[in-house]
């Protein structure tokens, strides 16, 4: 009976996704009958892995994803904890904290672009208070080799998302347990470290993994804020895919599959962790504690 209820989702969502992946794998191995290519080969993977452009892209993508997810989780946890502690937060504070959730990613990229270019709003504010001589003195934060602009854009967009994931873990139930520990003689730090933190950190780690996995595969923000070299991995894959030379197609698929492998590894880590985090919170909620 359960299988019947799951059938629509499995047919319309999961099987399409998996079938698409399978087709991408097959094409990355060089199977493109429309072009007369029918022999399976790993040559395209070899070609991609040895390309210095790919290696530079990989470094950039992983670096930006790691920093972005760490920043978003830190800011998101701070947001969640502050909103929980402040209690009946004024309506506008809650609304503003939610706003980035609704923004499309390309718009976020453009907003951060206007903010962080050498003649952008931040530069003008610094100039107005006398901290900046002119646009030339402003560090390159967009279209830069490191990827700072992209990190800022992701933190802006994903911190509220992390806050939404973490807020239930820092709310009433956790604080009541901390207070209970305090009545039993624990200091503020002990109550946090041994009671609250074990409940919070799996959620933070889960949020980090979700955001990291998403950021590695995201296209739109690097498209707006990135350089032409090195390009983020998804942009590299897209450029190869829309290339006029159709013989580039298998290499594009190989790039896409390498990208997918990275996120699959992160997804696997998330899977191992997510069960544990959910169980803990459910136990707290229902009053059972070990």
């Amino acid at each position: 009976m359960a299988y019947l209820r799951l059938l629509p989702v499995l047919v319309l969502v999961s099987s399409l996704f998996v079938a698409g992946l399978a087709l991408a794998v097959v094409q990355s191995l060089g199977y493109l009958p429309a072009l007369g290519m029918t022999r399976l080969t790993l040559a395209y993977y070899g070609q991609v892995l040895q390309d210095p452009a790919f290696q530079a892209s990989l470094c950039l993508t992983l670096r930006v994803a790691a920093l972005a997810s760490a920043g978003a989780c830190s800011a998101g946890t701070a947001l969640a904890v502050c909103l929980a502690q402040v209690g009946r937060a004024a309506g506008w504070q809650r609304l503003l904290a939610q706003a980035p959730l609704a923004l499309p990613h390309l718009v976020v990229g453009y907003m951060v672009l206007l903010l962080l270019t050498p003649t952008g709003l931040v530069a003008r504010l610094l100039h107005a208070v006398g901290l900046l001589a002119g646009p030339d003195a402003f560090p390159a934060l967009v279209h830069d080799r490191f990827g700072w602009g992209m990190v800022v854009a992701y933190v802006f967009k994903e911190a509220p998302f992390a806050a939404v994931l973490i807020y239930p873990l820092v709310g009433g139930a956790t604080r009541r347990l901390q207070e209970a520990a305090a009545t039993l003689g624990a200091s503020g730090w002990q109550a946090f470290r041994h009671v609250a933190w074990p409940l919070i950190w799996p959620g933070v780690l889960t949020a980090w993994l979700i955001i990291f996995a998403y950021t590695v595969g995201a296209f739109e923000i690097p498209y707006v804020l990135g350089r032409t070299y090195p390009r983020a991995l998804p942009v590299l894959a897209y450029d190869k895919y829309v290339s006029i030379d159709l013989a580039d197609r298998p290499a594009a698929m190989a790039l896409a599959m390498l990208l997918t492998t990275i996120t699959a590894a992160v997804a696997w880590a998330y899977m191992r962790l997510a069960g544990g985090a959910g169980d803990r919170l459910a136990q707290v909620r229902s009053g059972r504690l070990d």
């Binding site: 629509p8 969502v13 999961s14 399409l16 646009p135 897209y238």
Partner: protein
């Protein structure tokens, strides 16, 4: 106010100021004609970008209609397929459940453009490639998992006790769902539907890949404006893309809170 609450209030205001900052250049820029360095405000104001966007020739309003049409269809389909799936995942145990959970959450964790690129040839063969149905299907694949996840969590929290009691009192299954389950499911249903709707409205790359640019949703029409030279136009386009989404989210938030406040007052 305690010292802890005071400190937290301060940090909160700093964080919110940081969240507000990126909105300013876009909001101000969309009504500016000239905003050169080092002005904190534009030297010249103008509504020209807006006049252009609202002009029928710019195809912005039809594109908005297209986006809403596709998004509404995707949301309706997501609700229909996610309710039973969420119930099964949230309340039932069955062999292979772990595998099903992995399959359902796959599009959340892995980028969809590899599967969509792979599927494009298949879409072409079945005549779905440049159609609203094909685009809607692709949007569904990447947004439905969030709704299934939200509903599964909600169903798990709700349990089956009240439904069982209603059944023993003689209610038919559809009555149980309509009067017992649905009202308590509403917050998760609304937030899931919101996520799906906004997710579909904001899709650019996948719409492009699945329709080759034939289906002109709002992002497809407006994004080229944002990479072109005219800053005022790009800013106005950003506002057109962002404002409806934010307003929809805020009004649903208000509606849900208002509904629960009324229920509390009435004691129902």
């Amino acid at each position: 106010m305690t010292r802890a609450a005071h400190l937290h209030g301060l940090i909160l205001r700093a964080l919110l100021a940081g969240l507000l900052l990126p909105f300013l250049p876009v909001l101000i820029g969309s009504v500016s004609a000239a905003w050169r360095w080092p002005g904190l405000l534009p030297q010249a104001w103008s509504l020209q970008p807006w006049r252009y966007l609202l002009d029928p020739g710019a195809r912005v309003l039809p594109a908005l209609g297209e986006s809403v049409l596709v998004a509404a269809g995707v949301t309706a389909a997501a609700v229909l397929i996610s309710l039973p799936a969420g119930q099964a995942l949230g309340q039932q145990a069955f062999p292979g459940k772990a595998l099903v959970e992995v399959l359902v959450i796959l599009p959340v964790l892995m980028p969809a453009f590899a599967p969509v690129m792979g599927l494009h040839a298949a879409l072409l063969r079945y005549g779905l490639a440049d159609t609203r149905l094909g685009v809607g299907l692709v949007h569904l694949v990447v947004t439905a998992p969030y709704m299934v996840r939200a509903l599964a969590a909600a169903y798990a929290t709700l349990g089956t006790r009240l439904e069982e009691q209603a059944r023993t009192l003689g209610a038919a299954p559809w009555q149980v769902f309509r009067h017992v389950t649905l009202p308590r499911l509403l917050p998760a249903l609304i937030s899931g539907a919101l996520f799906v709707f906004l997710g579909s409205m904001g899709q650019y790359l996948l719409t492009l890949l699945a329709s080759g640019g034939r289906i002109q949703t709002l992002p497809v029409v407006l994004y080229p404006l944002m990479t072109a030279g005219d800053r005022g136009m790009a800013a106005a386009a950003s506002v057109v893309l962002a404002a409806p989404a934010i307003l929809v989210m805020w009004s649903l938030d208000w509606a849900v809170r208002h509904a629960y406040r009324v229920r509390d007052l009435l004691g129902v």
